[in-house]
Amino acid sequence: MGSVAKDVLTVIFGLTGVLFFIGGTVGLLRCPDLYSRLHPATKCDTVGSCSITIALALQIGLDIALFKIMVVILLLLVTSASSGHAIGRSAFKTGVMPWHKKGVVPWPLKGEDRWTGR
């Protein structure tokens, strides 16, 4: 691969990553409630960081640092999914109702007591 092509690919991947990150930020600021904020937080950031990692990897080449970056990214995948779940669960357990549009039933209500938890 020529050096110019590599640089172009780097820039493309980097810009994609930045786009995803900006998307995450915008989503975080625009979404109406915390459940919907979780979506951009967990997804866009993960993809964005993966994309930027690919851009970096193109520049680094096959090096031991690449493996280290991959370990970081793997860890990020696992932890961001788990922490997203943990945050969502803590809200769900404490009875935070999801925001919903008019006419949409946000939750197949089975028993009222679920929402009266602490």
């Binding site: 980097g14 990150f21 900006i22 930020t25 950031d45 970096l56 932890t79 961001s80």
Partner: protein
């Protein structure tokens, strides 16, 4: 690494820091505590990516360890808070 690309990465890092600023707004203003955690979580992820970028740009692999520690401890804080809230 050519100069252009390193400049590009610095711009990326700066954009990410600006992004982190905006996320911090959610962290500081979010109505519920979970909102704040999400905001801070994103700030942390961005910080980590900035570290990765900086380490490549400065050519110092030393900073990769720091990024790894970030990823781990971000998780610790999130789990601690959410675990405490839900009980």
């Amino acid at each position: 690494m050519s100069d252009l690309v390193s400049e590009f990465f610095l711009v990326v890092a700066a954009i990410l820091v600006v992004n982190a600023f905006l996320c911090l707004y959610r962290g500081a203003a979010g109505p519920t505590i979970q909102d704040r955690i999400i905001g801070i979580n994103i700030v942390n992820t961005k910080t980590m990516v900035v570290l990765l970028v900086l380490s490549t740009f400065l050519g110092e692999e030393l900073y990769l360890d720091i990024a790894l520690v970030y990823a781990l401890l971000n998780f610790v804080v999130t789990i601690t808070i959410s675990r405490y809230i839900e009980t």
